[in-house]
Subunit: 414 residues, 2 copies
Amino acid sequence: MESNIKFIDGGVVAPQGFLASGIHCGLRKNKIKKDLALIFSKNGKECTAAAVYTKNIIIGAPIIVTKKHLKLKNGTAKAVICNSGIANTCNPDGIEKADLMCKLTADILEIDESDIIVASTGVIGAVLPIEPIQNALPLLKEALGDTKEAGEDAATAIMTTDTRKKEYAIEFILDNKPARIGLIAKGSGMIEPNMATMLSFITTDVDISSEILQNVLTDVIQDTFNMISIDGDTSTNDMVSIMASGLCGNKKIIEQNSDYNKFREALYIICEKVSRFIAFDGEGATKLLECKIINANTKQDAKKLAKSVIKSSLVKSMMFGADANSGRILCALGYSGIDFDPEKINVKLKSSAGEISTCVNGFIIKIDEDKAKEILSQEIIEIIIDMQTGKENSVAWGCDLSYEYVRINGDYRS
Amino acid sequence: MESNIKFIDGGVVAPQGFLASGIHCGLRKNKIKKDLALIFSKNGKECTAAAVYTKNIIIGAPIIVTKKHLKLKNGTAKAVICNSGIANTCNPDGIEKADLMCKLTADILEIDESDIIVASTGVIGAVLPIEPIQNALPLLKEALGDTKEAGEDAATAIMTTDTRKKEYAIEFILDNKPARIGLIAKGSGMIEPNMATMLSFITTDVDISSEILQNVLTDVIQDTFNMISIDGDTSTNDMVSIMASGLCGNKKIIEQNSDYNKFREALYIICEKVSRFIAFDGEGATKLLECKIINANTKQDAKKLAKSVIKSSLVKSMMFGADANSGRILCALGYSGIDFDPEKINVKLKSSAGEISTCVNGFIIKIDEDKAKEILSQEIIEIIIDMQTGKENSVAWGCDLSYEYVRINGDYRS
């Protein structure tokens, strides 16, 4: 089934029916850093839409407004507006500003303000000045396009401390039609669990009902975005949204049939790809860590164990130093809150430089330190942990903890 | 009641009835670093004893052996033996080695091996060579003394990445007699929650039953050692033990009466003191963070909220950079798992340089950045969070996240 799924160039404008743009409006001091992005359904066509949000109790004003809009419009939307630089969270006038941002965008696009998904990312507690956005909107509209460049502009405008833009597109056959999914995302610090300071805007030309779209998005996110951890912090502003234009021409997906499964698989693959990349591009990261738990008793156990390892500051630090101190991996499993038999644990470390077994049946074994150092000196490190008691597997992604992380976060606002 | 409690010089030999020593036996390469400590009840007198252990599922062999001994001897003990450098955990021969360490110590002290509390701290998974310990025991016994120096030797011998030795002693009046509690501890990395890689050995000359001693130790630890977090990791080898010689001459405490309360208060004060110091001396720490939650609905809520803030890598990094980014504090409260009203939160930052309000009723307010910078540039920072809904308070201690933490943990074993 997977064979007909292939990555293609581009991002949110790769699927039929979408335009995008991104410009510098002035919320950020650095004039070459774009800070305002727009995604628009061509000709204001109504798309089915769904979203998943942060589980933090303190939530950004834009999330409150987006939730309201998707509810008002019964799971449809026509545009996404997103600024970077300021999170518009914990301000007395946050909702007012988010509403105004939608109203101004709606006016210029000639749609309803409740057709808009709004997002903000950046410093919490800073007041969002609306003038730069208001002044930039005509230009932002004018810049809308379906070219590679237009999509890239939107991808770069949502970045904060990301070092690389995150955009992907995928093509697959659905109901004998070529269907596409496109995606832009921002990640970096404060990602975990349940998607902290992570934004992703997904588009697709698949025809699918709002309800089913919400189901599949929620489902896929559990195993992808929610399995990333950069530093254990969960942000107030995370959101993944998806808009479906329906223009690929497939028979509308309204139930969990084989077309649903094909769409789910494609969505999973693109979300997994960006999740790994977000982890790899974590603040200050020099390495991608991929923790695979195999043969756990339950899926939930496997997930919690994988997350516990990937979140451990001591595991992250040892990976930065390429020091195969497996005791720290066992230790992180041990305080995960999951009950298991310590004397069944096998641990392997793996990378492009090879594979080494470091723990067998709960006991740490003597290893070739030079070989281990070489394995851990690569950019992508797999930590494979066999619980030997069940049949459930899970993967979590993270990164190492570096001097650079501390530098970035010691003085983020300046 | 507090007035008659005073700190005095010394550590575990300050209370009547205890000897201590610490030497370099060779488990560590650095010959000037002591690595083996002994505490012994004078003349092998039986002490009542109690201990609290790590909650990690993977537990060090010494803990298994200590538990066994305290059970066998119905909550009594005569000596503590502790090495640093190697944790003796996750090795196939761990229990055998811990047993042997006790047997050799018992032989030389002419007591039963089950009279011994044994502990190890250091690298997990390395095999513990017994010869250096065996060879050093005669000298360790000979070095036993009740002088300030002897107590200090024991305090330094249990240190790992600690930069400063941790020993305290306290004197108070109990049943009209001067009573004492003495303590040595090691802390540093991987401390949280429930006392990770934290060892503390406490002595007292109070006369108290084993059962009541266990109660009071467990109780006090909840609000002291268990409220420290250095990096969110919980170690496999943590233990706090206490031995009571009964030599101060008080009427034996066998129930929760007023003498119990006096003893509890003194124990709390000394444990709080060392907990703060352990946090301050966390790996790479430049600052002590003290998070005070006030007016929460329940004690449990207050504790979880305080721990969530103190554990946040983003909060820790901003403190390192002296950047008053209160959004991160709110964010950490928001993902603590505790339900609360975001619009009631007040946050103040306080230090010897003054106090500043940064968040009022859930909204971040504009602050004097220079003043905030000065406040956060001090060594001890209080984060005071008023939930404004209940009456329960809690304090947690932590430290900032520095370049030095990453350096230490990137290459701990070398």
